[in-house]
């Protein structure tokens, strides 16, 4: 079984092909070109290099959010079009779960954080040690709230994701020696992790089509948030 993974949820553009036994190839870029310009050429390159045709794939797994709205859409739209053109099985993997899954042996909590702007992060919490298990659903919250939650617990906490450089000092101050960090290579989104989780889902018979895939933005658009605020304020004055 060959599964392609796609992750464009952050500034990292990553594509991989994995089988049950190994990662055949993985290309991960953080350069100044847009996902729209990079993603499909990378997919073409990886298929050429692995000697596979698009129709040889058993399925495509995509990081379905949370993440940058535009980034998510490019990955999701590409996966959906592959699924529609070739009738390929698809699945959407939590960007945060794919980050956590890269560190199954960490003896403590894994805490992926993605920059959600407005002083918030997208986050979930996982336990690891032997296998990665989810404790908290994907959400958007402030770093202060997250740190208060983590201060209630005794375990060491591993932080990964693109918000780490932004909040590293605040985290270290709050959790002191319990805060653990990885070198940059091990803290970014990687499509092999998305593909591996996808392969597990496909093997378990959890197959979706392009009709079933929707990005998990976790947040409405600014316009909708503002509109609702004016509705509530308007309601008060009545």
């Amino acid at each position: 079984m060959y599964v392609m993974g796609i992750d464009t949820a952050t500034l990292v553009c990553s594509v991989a092909v994995v089988s049950e036994e190994k990662t055949l190839a993985e290309y991960t870029q953080q350069v100044k070109k847009t996902h729209s310009e990079r993603l499909l050429p990378l997919i073409d390159t990886i298929l050429r290099d692995t000697g596979l045709k698009p129709q040889d794939l058993s399925g495509v797994a995509v990081a379905g959010g949370p993440g940058s709205f535009t980034g998510l859409r490019i990955g999701m739209v590409t996966a959906k079009a592959l699924g529609q053109a070739l009738a390929l099985p698809l699945c959407s993997i939590s960007t945060l779960a794919a980050l956590a899954a890269q560190h199954p042996l960490f003896p403590g909590l894994i805490c992926p954080i993605l920059d959600a702007r407005r002083e918030q992060v997208y986050n979930a919490i996982f336990t690891a040690g032997t296998q990665v298990e989810r404790l908290v659903a994907d959400r958007s919250l402030s770093v202060t709230e997250l740190l208060q939650e983590l201060q209630q617990r005794p375990e060491p906490v591993l932080f990964v994701g693109d918000a780490v450089p932004v909040y590293r000092q605040i985290i270290s101050r709050a959790l002191v020696s319990r805060a653990c960090f990885m070198p940059p290579e091990s803290a970014i989104c990687r499509a092999s992790s998305v593909a591996r989780l996808g392969l597990a889902q496909f093997s378990a018979g959890q197959v979706q089509s392009w009709r079933d895939l929707h990005p998990a933005y976790l947040r409405r658009s600014e316009a909708e948030i503002k509109y609702q605020q004016t509705q509530i304020e308007g309601g008060d004055s009545c």
Partner: protein, 341 residues
């Protein structure tokens, strides 16, 4: 079957559209999922919401276009897509869908300019005699072009600020007529007196000036309303709508007739969403007929954003084998496009 089928995709603004067109001419399907109701409560198109809706709708719209055309992906000769100008996030959904489909199906990819596709809507319904002058008016554009063939367009003039359709939307909003503004003002103006208010007509009465400006007109309408309200004077919304619309139409008619005269063409094309405006059609038709010139325009469904026109414009690229690469990006502003195709 020797017909060449093009699947076209359009997501530049607030319509998710896909169409299948044979030989650049015969419309086999033309599916449009409009988001107008979604944006209505915001009084205009919200880019992030538009992008999200495009993503939810695009594959279904493509599937429907194929079903209605009674064909499959394998029957297609090429895939065409609008790559700009337009809202970047919205364009990205169409561009990435189209290029991935083209890649997976091993079909050529055609990157179509949105303005040229509005013009090409005319080629679907008329045998156009060249050379011709074309006025493109929509929410995003106001352009006068000189066409020497299906492939070649020279820009004569464009708007310096707001597009005509944009002015319609903004004036409709201050008049409380709702969104989209074009049809709302067209309707409201029916019962109004078009000479009730004297609104400005920018750059008129000048030879060889094909530029437009509508922001001054828009401000004049807003100021007039403000003054009337402050003085507590009564006024008819219909009169304001009719006077505003007449000011726009006067400018568009004068400039278009001037261009037709200077370029000595027999045929004038009207294109874009505002081409559906009845006053503009009637008055331009009359003015041109007086000089023995012929006005042609598409039916309303092909005036507003749709994918059949994208296929018609894509046909030009297909015939010339000008194919786009896998790195095709969305281009929100396309400047230097007029001599390209």
């Amino acid at each position: 079957m020797t017909q060449k089928l093009i699947l076209a995709i359009e997501t530049s603004c607030d319509e998710t559209a896909a169409a299948v067109v044979a030989d650049g001419k015969i419309i086999l399907s033309n599916i449009i999922a409009s988001q107008v109701p979604v944006h209505q409560k915001f009084g205009g198109v919200v880019p992030e919401i538009a992008s999200r809706h495009h993503l939810e709708m695009i594959n279904e719209v493509v599937e429907e276009a194929l079903l209605e055309a009674n064909c499959t992906f394998a029957d297609l000769a090429a895939i065409a897509v609008t790559h700009g100008p337009g809202l970047v996030g919205a364009l990205l959904v169409g561009v990435n869908t189209a290029k991935t489909l083209a890649y997976a199906l091993d079909k050529p990819l055609l990157a179509v300019n949105h303005v040229l596709s509005h013009i090409a809507a005319n080629f679907l319904v008329h045998e156009v005699v060249f050379p011709a002058v074309c006025l493109v008016v929509s929410g995003g554009h106001t352009n006068l072009l000189y066409l020497t063939s299906r492939w070649q367009a020279e820009l004569l003039g464009a708007t310096r600020d707001d597009a005509a359709g944009e002015a319609f939307d903004k004036v409709a909003r201050v008049l409380g007529l709702g969104y989209p503004g074009g049809p709302a003002i067209d309707k409201a103006a029916e019962t109004g007196n078009s000479s009730a208010f004297a609104f400005p007509r920018a750059f008129t009465g000048q030879n060889n000036n094909f530029e437009f400006s509508f922001s001054g007109l828009k401000s004049a309408v807003i100021n007039t309303l403000h003054n009337l309200k402050q003085k507590g004077e009564n006024f008819q919304t219909a009169d304001v709508a009719a006077s505003f619309q007449q000011a726009v139409v006067d400018v568009l008619v004068e400039k278009t007739c001037l261009a037709a005269e200077v370029k000595q063409v027999k045929t004038v094309l009207l294109a874009g969403g505002v081409a559906a405006n009845r006053s503009l059609r009637q008055q331009l038709e009359q003015a041109l007929a007086a000089a023995n010139r012929n006005l042609i325009y598409p039916p309303p469904v092909l005036c507003t954003d749709n994918a059949a026109m994208v296929a018609a414009a894509g046909w030009n690229l297909y015939v010339k084998q000008k194919f786009a690469g896998l790195d095709l990006n969305a281009t929100p502003v396309l400047d230097n496009l007029w001599q390209v195709q």
